[in-house]
Amino acid sequence: MRRMLTLLVSGLIAAVLGILALAGMSSAVTTTDADAKKAIEQVLKSGKQDPTKPQVYGTR
């Protein structure tokens, strides 16, 4: 009985983490292109990127 319980608990932990890893990866990958395009369009529309200012290395 105890062995069954430990098997169940450890299996659940591994399964949950596995599902989280796979789900996270797939969502991150499938949304990237759209997100990137959207972000570029937003920047262009909002005019945040001043063409006369040097390219920003990054933001904090």
Partner: protein, 564 residues
């Protein structure tokens, strides 16, 4: 080290297969052709071997001797292949190295360490900011630690192995310093002072090229202290910068940080990992030769301290003073780079902590715990997979670049890259920012702006030649009076550019991406910024490096295989 598992061929094969799988998972997008151009990661078809890349005359040697190595290798192999070999080598060797360095009691502990070390926020963030040279040192670190502990124990053939592991780390100044720190912390032993001295001196000698380049550069050693605030460790979630550092993250750039790091769960996971590491540390101490565990902990603490210096009360002002006054102290302003030893020790201790928890448990429970520990890094940071969720994506240079490179090569002379901007966001490399590739693409010296913009903050560069050009342009003088022979205008990229600057220049190529102008009044001889004695100093430093590596390679080939 009695309870350290002696591993079989099967264990080794599994470790290498797991490392290969992790590498493939992270770098899958690089199966497509082209070059990944992201922040500081610049690869070109064939990087020329010229003095400005070997020893920059007017800027600090941040990529010395990295650029020399890439230039030499790309004379034989195409740049796209070198990039793939370098990136795959980093992740694969980091995983295998961590798996081998952990004094494991079970084979699965090695796999926990391997996956954990190849999936840290440190690796993800430095990969996404393009600092692959630093990641070479990160990958070399477990091998350095393993060899350094062997030298301390007096194992035959350990010193050559240590030098072979430290040599790739020293392709950047930060990596070289990390290697020296690891050797100084781990090797010295009262019983073997001579071998310890030899190890420290030889690894220090591997740092010769960048030290020599600093000596011969006209940039001086000081940096803009504004960089301390700009490049200090950054909080990624509610736990602040120290919490981010504790999890091996905290790079200064928000754009180089995987989105998953902002999850409110991350600090709780970090706390759990720290508790596990605490459990594992006693096993580490017990299984390494006497003092080995404590010395590793000291090395990790030193790295963490340097990383946190910029965000500690008083630390930032001290760092600002050092960066301005002490030559070379600018290396410390992006202190998170020095977190690599902490990352390694954390991963090793977590793996041993999991092993300790699993010991004595039913096999199913132990298996569940171990598999959970293997999957945990991926579950909490899934957006490192597939090239950081698509951020590493190869592109091709427009054909303009090749034509401009050919024309400039026919009449070499100094080139000015306009608009004035150190980094570029090209329409053909959408959604990504990259360091101007022109200096590595063209076979002649290229002047680019070296001012860095971090949000609204500007961090001045060190190049006095560029400062002079900027001064002339600010006075309304045309580029023609600056003495440069060529001007390349990179279209559709932001930056300072005034059409009056181009007065008196002759357009010789006009393309959709680049326009090339010739300066008819440029002096006939190109600038020779490096003095001849400086070049000889550089050649000597590189030769010493090569000799150390060759002797180490010969020593390794001659030694008998050992069990460890």
């Amino acid at each position: 080290m009695a309870d350290v598992q002696r591993w079989t061929t099967r264990d080794r094969v599994i470790l290498h297969l797991v490392a290969a799988a992790v590498t493939a998972l992270v770098l899958a997008p690089l199966a497509a052709p082209g070059y990944v151009l992201l922040y500081d990661m610049v690869f070109v078809p064939r990087q020329p071997l010229r003095w400005e890349l070997v020893a920059p005359a007017y800027s600090l040697p941040r990529a010395v001797p990295l650029d020399t190595v890439v230039s030499l290798v790309t004379q034989l192999l195409p740049g796209w292949l070198v990039q793939r070999l370098a990136l795959a080598g980093v992740i694969f060797l980091a995983a295998v190295g961590a798996g081998r360095v952990v004094p494991a009691g079970r084979p699965s502990t090695r796999l926990v360490a391997a996956i954990g070390y190849a999936w840290t926020p440190y690796l993800a963030e430095r990969l996404l900011i393009g600092q692959w040279g630093l990641l070479v040192a990160y990958a070399a670190l477990p091998w350095i630690v393993r060899a350094a502990l062997s030298v301390r124990s007096g194992r035959a053939g350990a010193l050559p192995r240590l030098l072979l592991a430290a040599a790739p780390a020293a392709i950047t100044p930060t990596g070289g310093l990390l290697a020296v720190a690891a050797v100084v912390a781990l090797v010295p032993a009262r019983a073997r002072p001579r071998s310890a001295a030899m190890a420290v001196c030889a690894v220090a000698a591997l740092n010769g090229p960048w030290l020599a380049a600093t000596l011969v550069s006209a940039a001086g050693g000081a940096s803009d202290p504004a960089g301390v605030a700009a490049f200090a460790a950054r909080g990624e979630n509610w736990s602040g910068p120290l919490g981010a550092l504790a999890a091996t993250g905290g790079v200064w750039s928000a754009e180089a940080t995987p989105a998953s790091r902002s999850s409110p769960v991350i600090p709780l996971v970090t706390l759990g990992l720290l508790l596990l590491a605490g459990l594992g540390f006693s096993r580490l101490r017990g299984r390494l030769p006497a003092g080995g565990g404590d010395r590793l902990a000291l090395l990790a603490a030193g790295g963490f301290g340097l990383s946190a210096l910029g965000v500690l009360p008083g630390g930032d002002s001290g760092l600002r003073w050092m960066v301005e006054q002490v030559p070379g102290a600018g290396l410390l302003r992006d202190g998170q780079k020095f977190l690599a030893p902490y990352a390694l020790v954390l991963v090793i201790c977590v793996a041993l902590g999991v092993e300790r928890l699993a010991t004595g448990k039913a096999s199913a429970m132990a298996g569940g715990l171990t598999v959970g520990a293997m999957l945990l890094p991926i579950a909490v940071m899934p957006d490192l997979a597939l090239g950081g969720a698509g951020r590493l994506r190869p592109v091709s240079y427009p054909s303009d670049w090749h034509r401009v490179a050919e024309q400039v090569a026919e009449d070499p002379g100094e080139v000015l890259s306009l608009p004035l901007s150190a980094y570029r966001a090209y329409p053909w490399n959408p959604g990504r920012v990259v360091l101007d590739p022109l200096p590595r693409y063209l076979a002649t010296d290229v002047l680019t702006d070296d001012t860095l913009y971090v949000g609204d903050l500007s961090v001045a560069g060190e190049n006095p030649r560029m400062r002079e050009v900027r001064r002339l342009l600010a006075q309304g003088r045309p580029v023609a009076v600056t003495g440069v022979r060529w001007v390349v205008i990179q279209h559709h990229t932001p930056g300072e550019l005034d059409s009056s600057w181009l007065t008196g220049l002759q357009a010789v190529h006009q393309g959709p991406s680049l326009t090339l102008y010739r300066n008819p009044v440029a002096p006939p001889d190109p600038n020779l910024p490096s003095s001849w004695w400086g070049r000889w100093v550089m050649v000597a430093a590189l030769a010493v490096d090569a000799v150390v590596v060759l002797i180490a390679a010969a020593g390794t080939l001659r030694r008998r295989p050992t069990a460890w």
